[in-house]
């Protein structure tokens, strides 16, 4: 296992989008990960303002039904993953244990044709914006390699979604996701500081941080260091205050 895995996943997602004549997006990545990871289908659930979550994309009819069940019943692997922030891997949905855990969801999901479901939160610390949910029409676990790939794809989709949100604050195009800036301690610290400075949520703070970096043609890590060093403050209306 190495950085090659990330490179391989990024190449697969970009190649798949190019073959379909579109640019890489959270939806195209969701579509492409089905083959990359080796499952029957996938869906993206995003949290919206009401906290109930909404369907963003689904690669097949089963995915759509699983998401509808989650929304109406308020239970299931995806609901648990979003609530707890940790992955929920269910290799055999229709077991005694799982019927106790999700008494309404399991029979309905089985009737829809899903036999296994694997939900990965789209998460960076306190930032939780939804989940990537994979399903299979036959039971069985994911291999450790498949779990690594699913984590990588979930991280890439989180980056893509943040890019899509960042664009709303910019006139210019956002550079493609590198997937690296999300794993740096300075970026997390600066995001925490910004959330207090601007009086916004952690998600919004990270989006504003990235927007500022892109608009000023700086790296996200460099802007983070300026914030931590108290050389830069961002005000609630998005103006910067250089010291």
């Amino acid at each position: 296992m190495s950085g090659e895995r990330l490179a391989k996943a990024l190449a697969h997602l970009a190649g798949d989008a190019a073959a379909r004549g579109i640019t890489t997006s959270s939806e195209s990545a969701c579509e492409a990960c089905v083959v990359l990871i080796g499952v029957s289908g996938a869906q993206l659930t995003l949290m919206n303002g009401t906290g109930r979550g909404e369907s963003r994309y689904s690669t097949n009819e089963i995915g759509t039904q699983l998401e509808n069940l989650r929304f109406t019943l308020g239970e299931g692997p995806c609901e648990d993953a979003v609530r707890s922030g940790v992955p929920v891997l269910v290799e055999e949905l229709d077991s005694w244990e799982n019927r106790q855990r999700w008494p309404l969801f399991v029979p309905a999901a089985s009737a829809a044709g899903a036999r296994a479901a694997f939900a990965f939160p789209l998460r960076s610390g306190a930032i939780r914006i939804g989940a990537l949910v994979l399903h299979r029409t036959s039971p069985g676990p994911l291999t450790p390699d498949q779990v690594y790939d699913a984590h990588i794809v979930a991280d890439i989709i989180l980056s893509l979604l943040l890019d899509e949100l960042t664009r709303r604050h910019l006139d210019s195009e956002v550079p493609p996701a590198d997937g690296v800036s999300l794993s740096r301690a300075e970026v997390h610290q600066a995001t925490g500081m910004l959330s207090v400075q601007m009086g916004v949520s952690m998600d919004e703070a990270l989006v504003r941080l990235r927007a500022h970096a892109f608009a000023h043609d700086q790296s996200v890590v460099d802007v983070s260091r300026d914030i931590i060093g108290r050389r830069l403050r961002l005000s609630p209306d998005g103006r910067s205050d250089l010291r």
Binding site: G125, A126, V147, I152, H188, Q189, S195, M202
Partner: protein, 251 residues
Amino acid sequence: MTMENLAETFVELADTLVADFDPVEFMHLLTDRCVTTLEVDAAGILLVDHHGELQVVGASTDRARLLELFELQHHQGPCMECYLTSAPVTVASFTEPPQRWPQFSSVARDAGFGALHALPMRLREQTIGALNLFSIAEGALSERTLRVAQAMADVATIGLLQAQVISRRELLAVQLQNALQSRVLIEQAKGVLAERLQLDMSRAFETMRRYSRSHNLYLSKVAEGVIAGEVDLTALAAREAADPPARRSPS
């Protein structure tokens, strides 16, 4: 290092291997115990994430953490070497030439350290990270101390894997991911606290850690509370500013 002290340490580590296991908490306990048991001055733990990148998961002081971060940024140094080769690496002196990693040595010297031992965290053929022991004095640790240190690294590795058996048979990949997510949460909370109380990052971390100990709460829970605005550390930080706690290690 007394026999009694040693036994106590292992009992304490084993005690944490229960259902309500928190990997980050465990890593912090382990680094603290390395300092008290092995007579080193600081300790840190690096774990590999699902991108194949090493991440700092636990450290007995922010100073050790900074060094490890520095090493990660430059993708070279003793801890990285230890992880890549799955073998212990000793730097008995950061001053005596030749220095194999001159940049790292110079930063380590500036931080007040004289020597470093890095031990692999290994499970069968898989290496999941490294345990790093920093000393202020130059010189290598004794064979005996190193054997105990390796035992502690092994306990840490088993602890992480044991947790997956106890908690719903999660895969190592999931377990590591959760540890790293707790770490992200703590970094974000440090930022919130640094801005809210106008502290530097080290002080923000120490304040959270002190609160977590005195209230018997996991650090990641305290971090969540700080971010949600449910934990108020103003009074604690003010007390500490007036009467800073004594430190075990260089600062």
